[in-house]
Each structure stands twice: as structure tokens, then as C-alpha cells.
């Protein structure tokens, strides 16, 4: 989960969007039972009147395939101590099935989809959970029926939880194998002391092991409702037919019986730098440095994304020149958290053999200080923007790539970010970058983490 989650984050930070001119939105249709909301770029939004389900449709007929995705607005930010990892564990149990679709009946998710050559998967992250199927166009009816059935009809049996818990625990253990992932967990836990971004999406080991099926059922009954979900269809389909299918299978599901609980915990102001570490057997050290930043929907976010690129993306990035090109690191990276709430801009510097943590950290901080003092050049901004815009075009390459990006925008509260972020990005100036650097790259609001390897393994000696 964690490995996937990081990958999704990286995708999201690069501004997922399409260029409106390149994809023509289907004209809005009048479909019984739906209210047309708006069209932006190639995406049209509808609401299913019966229960408030949001529907996003993006027709594209380049290939006879499509992606059908359901995004639930529930992630690990909705968990509390004792239930950390519950969102993710519930995601796993989704595939154990319903009374109608399970392995015993011979109509389990995989049993139905695999022979069709369809690919299905699910991911959980801080702000959302999504389920998707990539399939040939003519299989849309099967896919919609399957995913709609899981919204309210899961079996959620204790006999399924037990083996799935150990599956998830091994997923956790695989993540812990990687020192950088272990360090990332520590940095987030230190950076957030009140807000639920404190804990990782996969949760704490003891919670994974001990959360009860009753708690998971409670979680399911709280968050898995149509008015807390968005259905997206991207690819080769006809709008009216797709809406009819969605109405048929999702329409009978009622709205949530109670208001969906909202997270109201705010992270208190950080006034002093924090420091954590992971020390254990390993090969080479790592330095991480995280700063508190704004939500993805903030007007400051595009400039922060440019800032991260200028510092750490590519050979001309300042940290590459200061660290990697001087053989102090093997790589540097920046991860600009694309999240619903205040998040982190995290830099990672992977130490080269012989390099010292303190020297790498000092140079990293020097570069940040220099940027805050002198700002950035117009060429640096233009290059960062060009890279993001090209990446936008690259993510139009197939329906799944589009779905992955759209999913993060839905999770960050507004799917229109899918387009509006690109437009905002084009307007970023060096002054904007300097302003956000001064505002957010405040050392007092930073968390530094070191991975310190204790000894090289025998093969490396």
C-alpha cells in the first residue's frame, strides 16, 4: 500500500490535467434521474438525484477501452488511534465480496473480471479510497454492476478478516523492510502531532492486528455511501448509455442515513524544529527534511510545486548540483504533498558512500536559505512549468493514467483542480516562488529525519 501510495503522490504533485483543447467534451445529455452540474475541459459532471452520487464522464475514443473508478472520500485522515489502517484493511475486504459476488458463488470480483481480461485494483491514501477497473469498452455493464454491489452489500466476515489481516501485515512488513519508508513514517508522525496525517495509511502494526470486524463494519457503514463517493468513467463509452447504467445500479442505493463525519482537528502551530531518526542495520544513510505546506487547493500550491522542482527535479536542480554532482548523494527528491489538508513538502537526500549526514543536511539547508534570500530565476520557473505541462500531456496516454490523476483531485476536494491547476501553474512567477519559499520553508516548522545504518551487510563488505 505504502509503495503504491507514494507513487500516486508523485503523480499528483506533477499537476494532473488535460489540455482542454485536445479533448472534446461530449455535449451534456439530459438523462433521467441526473442533474447536469457543469463541464470543464473534456469532463462533464452530473449528480444522481436519488442519492447525491457524483458522476464524472470523460469520453475518449482513441482505443476501445475504458476505466471505471469509484472514489470514496474516506482515507486514513478519517481514522483515530485504535483504528489506524482500518480504511486500508476495509479496502482489502472489499474484494472478499458480497452475498451475490464472492468466491463461493463463483462470481467473485476476480472470477468475473479476470477471464474478461479486465484489470481491477484499489488503493488507499490519506484522503481517499478508490476502486477501479480497466476493461474493454463493451464490458462496462459488468463492471458497473460489480462495483455498485460493493457499495452497501459487503459481507465483512470475521473469517475473512483473519487471513486478510496477515496479508496486510505482510504488506506492512514489506514496507518496513525499506529504511526510507520507515523514516517517512517517523517524519510524518513527528511533523503532525494532532492531525491524523500523523499516522501512515497502512496504520500501526498493533492496530492492523487488533481492529475488530465490528469496527470495520462501523467504518463501512459510516463512509461507504453514494453521497460520499464519485464515480468516474474515462475512455470509450457513450454518455447516455453510461449514465443509464449508473442509474440502474447505483440509483437504488439510499443516501447516507447520517451526515458523513468531518475531520475537524487542526494541527497546532509548530514553533520549533523537530528531529527524528531510524537507526538499524542497513547500507547507506538518508537525510529527510519536511516543511509544513498548504492544501492542494490553496492558491499557493502551484508555486510550491515549482519550488520543489527547482530544488530537486533534474540535473539542473539546485540540490542535484549541490549534493549529487558533488558525490555527496546518490539522489535527491522533493515530494510536494498533494492533499486535502495542510501537508508536507519533503526532501530526501540519499547519501553516497562516505558522505556524512551532517554535511548533507547542512548543504541542503544552505540551498534553501540561499533560495529564500535570492529567489529563483525566470528560466528556472519556465523550465519547471514546461516540465509539468509536458507531464500533463503524457498523462493523457491511456484512460488509467487520466483516472489516477483525477482521483487525487477528487480527494483534494475538487475535481476541477484537474484543469485549474495547470492554468494556475502557467501564471507562476519568480516572485511567487520567493513568496512561498519565505512563507513555508521556515526552519521552525521543519522536521528533519536521518536514517542511520548500523552496519553494512556481509555482501557489501
Amino acid at each position: 500500500m505504502h509503495r503504491f501510495a507514494l507513487a500516486f503522490l508523485a503523480v499528483a504533485t506533477a499537476f494532473p490535467s488535460l489540455r482542454a483543447a485536445d479533448q472534446l467534451a461530449a455535449a451534456p445529455v439530459k438523462a433521467e434521474g441526473f442533474t447536469y452540474v457543469r463541464t470543464l475541459g473534456a469532463i462533464s459532471e452530473y449528480t444522481l438525484d436519488a442519492n447525491g452520487l457524483s458522476v464524472l464522464l470523460m469520453p475518449a475514443h482513441a482505443a476501445p477501452e475504458l476505466t471505471f473508478m469509484v472514489t470514496y472520500r474516506v482515507g486514513s485522515r478519517n481514522e483515530v488511534t485504535g483504528t489506524t489502517g482500518a480504511t486500508h484493511l476495509l479496502e482489502h475486504l472489499m474484494f472478499k465480496g458480497t452475498a451475490k459476488h464472492n468466491r463461493t458463488t463463483g462470481k467473485g470480483f476476480d472470477q468475473v473480471l479476470a477471464p474478461l481480461g479486465a484489470i481491477n485494483n484499489a488503493t488507499t491514501w490519506l484522503d481517499r479510497t478508490n476502486y477501479y477497473v480497466n476493461a474493454a469498452s463493451d464490458q462496462l455493464p459488468v463492471v458497473v454492476e460489480l462495483l455498485a454491489d460493493t457499495m452497501r452489500n459487503l459481507l465483512l466476515l470475521e473469517t475473512d478478516r483473519q487471513p486478510e489481516m496477515t496479508v496486510v501485515r505482510n504488506e506492512f512488513e514489506r514496507g518496513e523492510n525499506d529504511p526510507v519508508q520507515a523514516l517517512d513514517v517517523e517524519i510524518n508522525a513527528a511533523a503532525f502531532i494532532a492531525h491524523p496525517y500523523h499516522h501512515s495509511t497502512i496504520g500501526w502494526r498493533s492496530d492492523i492486528e487488533k481492529v475488530s470486524i465490528a469496527k470495520l463494519r462501523e467504518f463501512y457503514d459510516t463512509f461507504y455511501w453514494p453521497d460520499n463517493a464519485t464515480v468516474s468513467v474515462i475512455g470509450d463509452f457513450q454518455t447516455a448509455a453510461a449514465l443509464a447504467l449508473i442509474a440502474k445500479f447505483y440509483g437504488p442505493i439510499p443516501r447516507a442515513p447520517k451526515p458523513i463525519p468531518q475531520v475537524y482537528t487542526e494541527e497546532p502551530a509548530q514553533t520549533f524544529p523537530r528531529r527524528v531518526g531510524v537507526k538499524r542495520a542497513g547500507e547507506l544513510g538518508v537525510v529527510g527534511l519536511a516543511y509544513k505546506i498548504c492544501p492542494a487547493s490553496s492558491p499557493d500550491f502551484p508555486a510550491l510545486s515549482v519550488l520543489g522542482d527547482i530544488l530537486a527535479d533534474g540535473k539542473n536542480a539546485r540540490l542535484y548540483r549541490a549534493l549529487t554532482d558533488r558525490s555527496l548523494t546518490t539522489s535527491v527528491s522533493a515530494n510536494t504533498g498533494f492533499n486535502r489538508d495542510n501537508s508536507l513538502l519533503t526532501f530526501y537526500a540519499s547519501l553516497a558512500p562516505g558522505a556524512k549526514h551532517d554535511e548533507v543536511e547542512r548543504r541542503l539547508l544552505e540551498e534553501i536559505t540561499r533560495l529564500r534570500k535570492d529567489g529563483v530565476t525566470a528560466t528556472e520557473v519556465q523550465t519547471a512549468v514546461a516540465k509539468s505541462l509536458a507531464a500533463t500531456a503524457f498523462r493523457r496516454d491511456g484512460s488509467f493514467a487520466i483516472a489516477s490523476s483525477l482521483n487525487e483531485c477528487i480527494a483534494a476536494t475538487n475535481w476541477t483542480l484537474y484543469y485549474t491547476l495547470d492554468e494556475a501553474l502557467k501564471k507562476v512567477t519568480p516572485a511567487d516562488v520567493l513568496r512561498v519559499a519565505e512563507k513555508y520553508l521556515d526552519y521552525d516548522q521543519s522536521t528533519t529525519g536521518w536514517f542511520v545504518p548500523l552496519a553494512a551487510s556481509p555482501a557489501a563488505k
Binding site: 485536445d22 482505443a63 479476470a114 496479508v167 505482510n170 542495520a281 539542473n316
Partner: protein, 440 residues
Amino acid sequence: MKRLSIYCAAAAFFAHVLSAAIAPNVTRTTVAGIDLLAYPTGVKDVVTLRASFPAGKALSPATNPALAALTAAMLDKGTTTRDKFAIAQALESVGANIRFSAGSQLLTVSAKCLKKDVPLVIALIAEQLRAPAFAPAEFAKVQKQFAGNLQRALDDTDFRASDSFTRAVYPVGHPNRQTEPKELLSSAQATTVEEVRAFHAKYFGPAQFTFVAVGDLDVPQLQTEITRAFTGWTGGQKLPTAARSTSTDSPREQTVFMPEKTSVTVLIGQTTGLLYRDADSLPLAVGTAVLGGGFTGRLMATVRDQAGLTYSTEAFVSKNTLVDGDFEIYASFAPELLEKGLAAVRRELNAWSKDGVTATELEQRKGNLIGEFKLSLATTEGLADTLLATVQRGRPLASLDDFADRVNALTPAIVNGAIKQYLAPEKMVLIKAGTVPGAK
């Protein structure tokens, strides 16, 4: 995360199958001595480029196994006319990217750009391949990077298991056998820039160079740009024919002990003696997919879904593009569940080997593999990789268009015959990498 983070290599095998006609839509020409394949698609603006030629790791001299990888790593470190920063700026200013990587036998170029930047990117690929600077100062940095990256990989249980597996099953001299990390490290440190220059002079050229372009293409313009960029380039080598594997005398069970790891990586497998283009490869791969392909494979259905022993287990055939390859089962287990997990995997392996696949399983798997393949071709990268691999495998492009027919023609008898002929569980190697209980 419900699904696997390591995508099934068996699926990769089938990511070369089509049901719609592909071959008639490929424009294949020889341009400046290069085998050029162009496939325009409906995508807007995006172009994916792939190229390969024989300059991979196995072509390094036995005395200097790091040479090919170091040479590849030097390609983006500057040319005779501009330094690495200038090249990076030229690419980044338009959001394009070019990567060079040394595989077992081939050096692969991967690039992606917008349609308008195809001339720039092709020119830069050619410049970096034809006229690398090989500056001593840059080489010293590359040596350190190489050492650091390798040392970091040693912290990864998956890497350690797969690395050891190659030496356990492939004999010395086989291209799929990887060099011991320690030896690789010392080789990298001892290599000189003169040796890199000599390797480049010997292996870089159009002798067996394949270039694939897929996406929003203007094919005549592409041909013109390739001509402009590569005319006058000579040299290179054809890939030498490698002898098929013989057995090794390595222990059948090996442990790579790594302290303080919370999950152990396990590999069980053997060489098959088969290349992708061999007739028996297809039935063996289909049978293997029944055992360990995705969530409907027997391994995931039992070892994960029923017993809850692992997050991931799969079976696949691999490394058979240019030489004979292998069969592998991958799994990860918590140290305390290792033996129980291994027993569960072996139970499935033995039953599959002894009794084969059923007619129902085979029919379902056919639909799965053919359908997944169609989906894999929905992106320019999927198509480009497929076309390049087809050429590398020595298969005609037309073979892509009858793949579904060939899969559908398989019977349980054919598939089970291949399993019995090429695999023997009792002779397979077991590798365990991680904090294995009782080991040091």
C-alpha cells in the same frame, strides 16, 4: 493496497499479444542503417521512443563486469559539444526526457516528448550515443554513483534474492548470470575512462540497432530526422549467439541473511532452456500463469486469499528475450511464517506440476491473458515496448496479430506436456533473502 506492487512478469510475457491488426499499421524502414519502426496512434501530442542495440552488461569483458553499465551511465554526462547541464536544460525546457540503461545484453534508450520536440529529442539521442565526452571528472562521479546505487540495492530483499537466483541457476558465462555485487563494486572502482572509450568504440553503432516510435507521429518527418541524426554513424556489433544453459553445481537452497528485515523474500525456480521464440514457450507461460498469474492464479488464491500467509506470491517465466530463460515463483513472508508459507507454495507447485492445469482453468486464463494484452496496448509506452520486444525476440511483427489464435489453440495436453517437459520441482533452487530464522 489490494493488489500486487510487483507486476507479474508472466503478464509481461503476454504483453506482446494482440487481437487487432498491428503489423499492417507499422511503417518499417531501414534508415541510416537503423531498423526503424513507426506506429502512429490516436493520442494527441505524445510520442514515445524506444531503441536498443547490443551493448549490455553481458558484453563486458569477464575481467571488467561493470564496464557496460558504467558506459551507459556516462551517456547523459555530456558530449563533445556540450556538458550535461546544457543537455539537461535543452530537454527539461520542453519537458522531454531521455534515459539510457544497460540490460543484460542490450543497451536501451527510452524517451518521451511532445510531438513538436521529436526533432530535438532524436538529435539529442544521437548526439549522446555518437559523441559522448567521457570526461574523466564526470567518470569519477559516475563510479561513485554506481557504487552507491549498488550498495543501496543490497538493502533490498527482492534485489538480493533475484541477484542470487541468477548465480544459482545460470552457469558462468550465461548472459542472465549476474556478477557478484562485491566483484562488481571492485570492477567499477578499477575501471578506467580509457576502457569506457574502448567499449564505446567497439559496441556503439547501427549494426543491430532498432528504433521504435509510437504516438502522434509524422512518419516522413521522423524518417528525415533519423536520417539527419544518424547518417555517417558506423560500427557496432551483432549480438553473439549464447549457448543454452547447463546446470550449475550451486546449492539447491541458499540463504542471503540480512539482519533486521521484517519480511523475507523467497524465490523458487530453475532454468527452462527455452527462448521466447521457441514453440514450447507459449504453453509453458500459459500454464505458469494458471499457477501464479494475478489474483486468480492458484498461488494467490490459496497462499494469500485462503491462508493469509503473504501479501504477494506469483509465478512467471522470464529473461527469455534473447537467450534461454527461467521459471520463478516469488513470495514474501514474515520470518515467523516463512516455513509455513514455503510449505504452502510447494504444495501448490507440486500439485500443479503433477496434475497440470484443468480445461476450465485454461479457458479462463486464455480470456484473461488476451484481454489484458489488449489493455496494455492502450498506451504509447505499451505499444512501443511490445514492438521493440518483438524485434528483439526475432519474431515477425505479424506474430503479434495471430497471438490470440495461438493462445486459443492451446489444449490442456499441450500446456501440461510443456510443464512436465521443462520443469522439475525437485530440482528447483530455493533462495531466501532477509532475516531468516536460524540463519546468520
